[in-house]
Subunit: 214 residues, 2 copies
């Protein structure tokens, strides 16, 4: 943080603009390939300002990652009608909706993807800590919701269920965001949508088998 007291509006706007531009560049180029100087230029500030606000390139990326993660809806933000249908309906709702959400605004998805797979060790550690601390998708609350409704099994440590849900939905989302990282599994946008629907259904079925009440 620059000023310990109130940050004037002008500075917040500046920082915000840098962050937006940084997200674009990271999304387009990846972590290594993104250039601090280009980000500064496009945001209309000097290079010094970027490092002034974010300390290091890794710090800038972490901020971009956090902004991206926080911009996503949590599981329980699904429409009330879907929530009433329960845990697996919510899960299916978001998984099926992912391609549409990605299409609408691919930049934050790409940034989280890069953070999940393509960054340094230290950065990766900080991202993990952030995810554990903030649980930005509300997976813990979501699993509790499933357990309370009697849909999710109680004979397994909820933490293990949370991990499994996180792991699998991450992967599925990533596979949807980029064919490159898991070629052919979910197919490209040009593939028939029935095919993708089948994949989504199979995925939900597997996850349901794993964690549903016996």
């Amino acid at each position: 943080m620059r000023s310990a007291r109130r940050a004037p509006e002008r500075q917040r706007a500046r920082q915000e603009r840098i962050l937006q531009v940084a997200m674009e560049h990271f999304a387009r180029s990846g972590y290594e390939e993104a250039r601090a100087e280009e980000i500064a230029a496009e945001a209309g500030v000097s290079k010094g300002a970027v490092f002034g606000y974010f300390e290091t390139k890794a710090g800038l990326f972490l901020a971009a990652y956090q902004a991206a993660a926080r911009s996503f809806p949590a599981y329980l933000d699904a429409p009330p009608g879907v929530r009433e249908d329960g845990f697996f309906a919510v899960l299916r709702y978001w998984v099926a909706r992912t391609p549409h959400l990605v299409h609408e605004d691919w930049i934050p998805y790409r940034v989280t993807l890069i953070g999940n797979y393509c960054a340094g060790l230290q950065l990766r550690r900080e991202i993990t800590q952030f995810l554990a601390r903030e649980d930005p998708y509300g997976t813990r609350a979501f699993v509790r919701f499933g357990i309370d409704r009697g849909e999710v099994r109680r004979d397994i440590d909820p933490l293990m269920i949370v991990s499994m849900v996180d792991w699998l939905t991450d992967r599925v989302q990533d596979a949807m965001v980029t064919e490159e990282l898991d070629p052919g599994l979910f197919g490209s946008r040009t593939q028939p949508p029935e095919e993708r629907d089948r994949r989504v259904s199979e995925f939900i079925e597997l996850l349901r088998s794993a964690v549903a009440t016996r």
Copy 2:
């Protein structure tokens, strides 16, 4: 490749030595932090030689990753006694054994971990292609084995099962290799082993529920 024909023994040995040192350095420092010049020095060759053999730093890492992945046993390399007990026994065997294997020689595990999470986009793409091409852990054959024995469900596309097994065992292995990436889930070496055994059992139980014959 340097010489299109046979590579003299001396050169193969040289390349091999560079690769070994590179694995150590990548394992210890991560991708970004590893220094080509240090690797060269420790391998007793010049910097030029490293780039002569492996083109780029990314090329060097890819070679290290491949060597690491190939050094691991495939699923079906489990002892015959375990194989006879079937798909889930084999799975359990390897998952339970991972901490021991990591303890014996942690370097290749760390290298694959870094390749899975901490490298550039292009590199990541090549790693994915390598894994899809070579299937170094023999997951495809392993799932077929489970299906043939009637232990693994047939109502889901085998490719989806393969993906799920790959995803989950990757994550579990990674969690075991480094507490940092998923702190506290599988615990550290100093934790009581019963605790870890319970985790392993719960994990296998979840995976079994997901993919076992109904």
